[in-house]
Symmetry: C2
Subunit: 298 residues, 2 copies
Amino acid sequence: MKNILIIGCGLLGSSLLRRIKKKKLAKKIFIFEKSKKNLSKIKKLKLPGIIIQKPEDVMSEINMIIFCTPMSEYKKIILKLNKSLTKNHIITDVGSSKSNSLKIINKNLKKNISWVSSHPIAGSEVSGPEHGKQDLFEGKWCVLIKDKKTNFRHLKLVDTFWKKMGSKTVLMSPEKHDKIFSITSHLPHLIAYNLIKTAQTFEKKQKHNLIKFSAGGLRDFSRIAASNEVMWRDIFFDNKTNVSKAINLFIKNLNEFKKDINSKNNKLIIKKLIQTKKVRSQIIKLKQDINLPNFGRD
Amino acid sequence: MKNILIIGCGLLGSSLLRRIKKKKLAKKIFIFEKSKKNLSKIKKLKLPGIIIQKPEDVMSEINMIIFCTPMSEYKKIILKLNKSLTKNHIITDVGSSKSNSLKIINKNLKKNISWVSSHPIAGSEVSGPEHGKQDLFEGKWCVLIKDKKTNFRHLKLVDTFWKKMGSKTVLMSPEKHDKIFSITSHLPHLIAYNLIKTAQTFEKKQKHNLIKFSAGGLRDFSRIAASNEVMWRDIFFDNKTNVSKAINLFIKNLNEFKKDINSKNNKLIIKKLIQTKKVRSQIIKLKQDINLPNFGRD
């Protein structure tokens, strides 16, 4: 890589920025960020990179473009860049949902321009450039998307890029990606939001102070339910078909659970609770979470 | 206190044991534990206390009795102790659900014996004496239960005891307790179990490897869903009326959420996601969780 343009410099964009700088992966890093709040943070933090107002003007200097904005911003930016894009530009994004966003990309992107979509599994409930860090992607999975339009030379370059970011990479179709992450990420977020919402509904009705006693379980969900609202609206809308199916499956299981509790079905409940326990040890074994009780919080 | 009997020496019982020893709160500590596995761990860990086989035989030496077993064990032990219990024994328990367990206690406990129920909000997904620690209750809430049968002298003594364990105490009726904790603790556990169950159903059907990609949200739920199955079966059964109501409220909210996603109701979704975000900052402000992104895991 010679020069890299980062579009959207929040948690992920600024983490890439820090890593690229640290590993000396680019001669120049350009930053295009529309939020004034983020821009003033970037300046205050003295993050490396050249802040630009008109990305279309520097396109001839750019080798790689990374979209790190919420997915609902893609279209507008693509239309702005189209004129100055060439087939040599390596373009990727970090969006959490793929099928629908790729439809929008393909519909709006100038013909014969290649886009290799990627999804690093490294988020947080916090957003903004002040939370970024150069090792955010270290040891984490990054899904690379392959479809019939994929330019394999570009795919290889994007793959190498993520490995330099510290990620392990894996290849998927947009459809497979969206199915898997509807269960491992989108449904958990939705459920966490909904649980907090339910606590709020209850609190309003019953006038009991709940938050005070949240250490018994509720607090865990509040972390995820504090995630960025624009990013998550985009994901829910983008992957709504899979998310709806996941909700239906969840409700079906929940109704069965309720029935077994109400009929005090000892055998079935114990079986269910023992089975779910196994997943934790698998997750720990695969190093997808910290191996300490209570996330090592206490 | 002079001599204390701990019945059930797992995570909570052994934490009490360690704290009582450290603070020199008892002359003698007796331990009654029926699990051979736990007994061998207690010996190996060289935990303080005298292991006894027949608690009924030492009752005349005992001043305070703390039930730390799953709630489904209470009845059997009460019937064993009844003969040797006197109105001077200070009795408490650490059960997570109150109305129904108090019914069972009152039905089986000998007349004129006092029982002051308590619930320390300090659990973990791990169980067993090897995970106990003397500061488990430090700064945590402990709910003390007051009803029309409460002996106020005993209540005061139990209150003092928990403060010496490091807890902040609060008084509630069994009914209020069970309503509040159906939302802050029982529903979150049930939802976590159900989410993991849903991931398992999906995995079976689709034959995709999900666990590998659990860092996007699912892993958080797997922690709670690894909690002790006997303890949680008891809680779900004991508090089934409130838990059922909580499930219904949760499903109602979830169906609304689904509807708003499917109709891409931007305004409502953003409003919902912003509102739920506030709970996290309240929880942090009340020091009910660690003030670090991602629970400080990474």
